[in-house]
Symmetry: none
Subunit: 244 residues, 2 copies
């Protein structure tokens, strides 16, 4: 490199975008701006191609990509429709791939530990008495599910959902939901082990007591510890699977 840096040295590389990417982005913008809502139908391929002045296969590639991304559901002969845009639809497709790299598991749960702590801190301040009561009922019902891992998973999710809602911040709720959803593939096996279910129930109870006491610091700590236990149980399962 010479002594005289190019005047372009500080510029980002030119981002090349294929037509299909631009079409997909256009559709995503319509979703973001609410011009397209869950369940809405996209214009037919031939019409979109004409509107956007591109070929039909380019439109197809864009729509196929959005379908794989979970944004669009496609029915041959029927049309393409915006999906429900929920966490399962949008995050489900990447779940499996994340689970192929162990680093992702560690980072996911570290992030989750921090963020569930944040959620719990706010929930301890914001949850209504009714919400706390409802949470207690969920805990009581959760005891009955210890012998049924499938039912426990449902109860576990409901418990966490109630706290995401109770924190009173829609962004934190979405983030919590996202991280939980992304961890599901990693968690498949751990949630079959009764000892680990017992530990989760114990963690839940501790978290609940801190929330009931309206103690943000204790709630944050309880949530973080719960997530650390969840991480540990997931790693142990992963390790023992590798041995077989």
């Amino acid at each position: 490199m010479g002594a005289k840096p190019s005047i372009f040295q500080q510029e980002a590389p030119i981002a090349r975008q294929s037509l299909a990417e631009m079409v997909a982005k256009r559709i995503l913008e319509m979703v973001t701006s609410r011009a397209l809502r869950p369940g809405d139908q996209l214009p037919p391929e031939r019409e979109l191609a004409e509107m956007l002045d591109v070929s039909r296969p380019s439109v197809r590639e864009a729509i196929r990509g959005l379908a794989i991304l979970g944004v669009v559901n496609v029915r041959q002969g029927g049309g393409a429709f915006i999906s429900q845009l929920d966490g399962d639809a949008l995050l489900g497709p990447i779940r499996f791939f994340l689970s192929l790299e162990d680093l992702n598991l560690r980072e996911l749960y570290d992030a989750r530990s921090l963020i569930e702590g944040d959620v719990a801190r706010r929930a301890a301040q914001n949850m209504s008495d009714d919400e706390i009561d409802a949470l207690e009922h969920m805990l009581d019902a959760q005891v009955e599910t210890l012998s049924d891992p499938q039912a426990f998973r449902v109860a576990d999710l409901r418990f966490h959902e109630a706290i995401w809602i109770g924190c009173g911040n829609a962004f934190l709720k979405r983030i919590g939901e996202s991280l939980n959803s992304l961890g599901l593939e990693f968690r498949r096996r751990a949630s079959e082990n009764p000892d680990l279910l017992e530990q989760s129930l114990k963690d839940h109870r501790k978290l609940f007591e801190a929330l009931k006491a309206r103690d943000p610091a204790a709630a944050a700590m309880a949530a973080e510890e719960h997530m650390q236990n969840v991480y540990r149980s997931t790693v142990v399962q992963d390790t023992s699977e590798n041995k077989t």
Copy 2:
């Protein structure tokens, strides 16, 4: 419906899969079996089409879908490569999922305050000496931009990007970026005011000192205060705009 149920009533619906989906799944199997690893190149489109006895556009649709998902990186003339399958490659959908939330400034900045605190906590523990040095250079350069709001915005983003990267967690990085970009629209005007730029620079410096001191608690607090100041300045601008 008659009293005599069809013998097919209990059968699951036939799952229809397009060719592109099958091609994508075949590639997925190669990734799963480690026949394909991060960085590996896929066979060329023409070859894949021949191998799988499908047309080239069908292969393209499959690869395009995997590219949008972040599983594959495609270079025109160069080929298609398996991505690192890490958070950077795969977590785009989180940003989209978060962008679907109705924008509530108070909640956005409360969430951001918490999460930037988390990011700073980890960055204080994880940033290398080189990264800290680079951050200091950015701060020095930032002084020169105080009289040019456009340049300041660029420098501001670079500063925050370096910390998201420095926290060493792809999930936190993606969430931090996503929340930042959601609030940009509202920050346009605030970032034209020199007094507010001075305050931001002061906040940045305080955050930097805590990071340099490797003090997670101080870094978290500095980051949270900075976000609270950003929120306050945004609301003040919003309010005065509404009056005109």
